[in-house]
């Protein structure tokens, strides 16, 4: 098991390095210069000074090495758009809100998705099954930004309990998290349902029944665990969906997260900020996949054996 974790961990580091490298070179391949925005006619000397300040006068290779060193120590340097602030400061101020939103969405989508899926499977072809699947189809097919606007327009505006925008109290979290979670929730619900239906026809379920276990014991102990394996597998992809969705949702609900910086930094060619947000998002994603791998190994004993063999 330890060997398995270690191996996964090394893969994770490698993946992050590849992403960082790719981002660095892709970013420098975008036409346009962050310092030459065609605005004020700043002098050549000033430009040269700025270039030196941001290390832009060095050859690309040197910039890359310096950059790797900084990333390794989580120092992203000064921002190019708000020159007085470090990228780290900006990230730190935005990160908590983004993190809260992301975690709330993921937790909500997993819990409610699994619950709905199991419920639908146990009431297969009954009313609850159909209702759940209709909710799931709606969740998947209506884009989250439209859901957000509907939520704001019909719920936040009419119900005082839900603030319309901004951030601060836990009530602020509910509507954006709901909008962000509905897609993943629907996917999880459908997947859980179909896995559950499949698992319930397995021979070992009949064995469990032949032992005299109650339906509840059978579902919780024998069926759910196996039905959740594929759900665990897609958690990585769902995290990615929540992350990308959060750019839009943060904007619509005016949430002071890091999504806004990410979007702005690209049009501003704010290299340090692009790099910082990319590294953060991809690290979250890769760490999530790492966790998924480990969870998978914990839930399915056959995986462990496999890694021992190779």
């Amino acid at each position: 098991m330890l060997k398995y974790i270690l191996k996964r961990f090394l893969w994770m580091i490698l993946t992050i390095w590849v992403i960082v490298t790719l981002t660095f070179f892709l970013m420098h391949a975008i036409p346009g210069d962050p310092l030459d925005m065609g605005d004020t006619g700043s002098s050549d000397a000033a430009s040269a000074n700025l270039a030196a300040y941001y290390n832009l006068d060095q050859p690309l290779g040197v910039q890359y090495v310096t950059y790797l060193k900084n990333v390794a120590t989580f120092d992203f340097g000064p921002s190019m758009t708000s020159r007085s602030r470090d990228v780290n400061d900006m990230i730190e101020s935005g990160f908590p809100a983004s993190l809260q939103l992301g975690i709330a969405s993921l937790v909500f989508s997993v819990i409610s998705g699994v619950f709905l899926g199991v419920f639908a499977a146990l009431r297969h072809n009954k009313m609850i099954d159909y209702i759940t699947m209709i909710i799931a189809v709606i969740g998947i097919s209506i884009p989250n930004f439209i859901q957000s606007m509907l939520f704001i327009n019909y719920i936040a505006v009419n119900v005082d309990f839900f603030p319309i925008a901004r951030w601060g109290t836990w009530q602020h979290v509910i509507l954006p998290a709901l909008a962000l979670a509905s897609g993943p929730m629907a996917i999880i619900a459908r997947l859980t349902r179909s896995n559950m239906l499949e698992v319930l026809t397995q021979d070992y379920i009949r064995t469990a029944k032949a032992k005299g276990l109650t339906s509840f014991q059978i579902v919780v102990k024998h069926a759910l665990r196996n039905a959740l394996l594929p759900v665990v597998t897609i958690m990585g992809a769902l995290t990615a969906a929540v992350l990308t969705g959060s750019f839009v949702i943060e904007r619509i609900f005016s949430i002071p997260g890091i999504g806004q910086y990410f979007v702005n930094s690209i049009s501003n060619r704010d290299y340090p900020m692009i790099m910082a947000t990319t590294v953060i998002y991809s690290t979250i994603l890769v760490v999530m996949m790492f966790i998924v791998d480990i969870l998978y190994g914990l839930i399915d004993p056959r995986i462990k054996l496999h890694s021992k063999e190779d």
Binding site: Q202, D203, Y204, R206, T207, A208, K209, A210, K211, G212, L213, T214, Q217, K221, H222, R225, N226, L229, I299, D300, P301, R302, L305
Partner: protein, 330 residues
Amino acid sequence: MGQALLEINELAVSFSTQGGEVQAVRGVTFAVEKGETVAIVGESGCGKSVTAQSIMRLIPEPPGRIKNGTIHMNGKDLASLSEKQMRGVRGKQIGMIFQDPMTSLNPTLKVGDQLTEGILVHQKISKNEAKQEAINLLNLVGIANPEERLNQYPHQFSGGMRQRLMIAMALMCKPELLIADEPTTALDVTIQAQIIDLFKEIQRKTGVAIIIITHDLGVVAQIADRINVMYAGEIVETGTVKEIFYDPQHPYTRGLLDSVPRLDGDRTQKLIPIVGSPPDLFSPPEGCAFAARCDYAMDVCLSHDPEHTKLTDHHYTKCWLQDKRAQKPF
């Protein structure tokens, strides 16, 4: 002879499907005495598994339904028990072993968990006591290092070992009856023989009664006391092993015996398959279900369903050829 352990009377089970009602079991009657082994044989689809699962009430309902009949276990009719009462019977009074040991164990749970969960439901005992019992049973079924094995997962066992696990699991609560549905079909021949020996040994040690379902007449000859031959949802002949093997009276039973190789007989003897296929269980024929495939079929066979004719104390057959009226000299 007192009351039998299990008495099945006129059991009928149907499945409602889109094509109509499949009459999988059509009036099956037989009994199992304490400590004896009864085999059910017959070709694929004749309703052996459905009969076995009906005893445990494991038929998926819907589409399945016990339409008629009683299943008395120690005088109590299982067919009329509530689901909750039935849970008290499953695993406790009757243990069941299934065909495929590869898929009958949960791949993601430790073997120890799967062995003990049944007894923990049925008896008020501690986890440690349950574990001790599991170790005893693993010893009984011949699995070495039981203590260590309990912490392993099913994939760490071979097919034969898994079937031993299944047997141990079915015996955890010391049931009076063990139902084994093709317990050796998925195993290779040498392992089959070991498992059959194991059944015999267990029966000697625990006195459990066994219903064994199989296609394999060789297995039956080794283990059974009595045999029920099933065809198209009915028992067409029943008797002791000797009676069925040496004095088969139903043409179908003879057909079954002729279609397997004999080690004692003439090596050059041809195997004779039974031609044709079983009747459609959506609308079973009016007369004898076997008539269409029977070399000896008479007019009466096509129009009237035969009754059970008693040949000896144990030997009955459902065939017009053996009917008293047919034998009357004219």
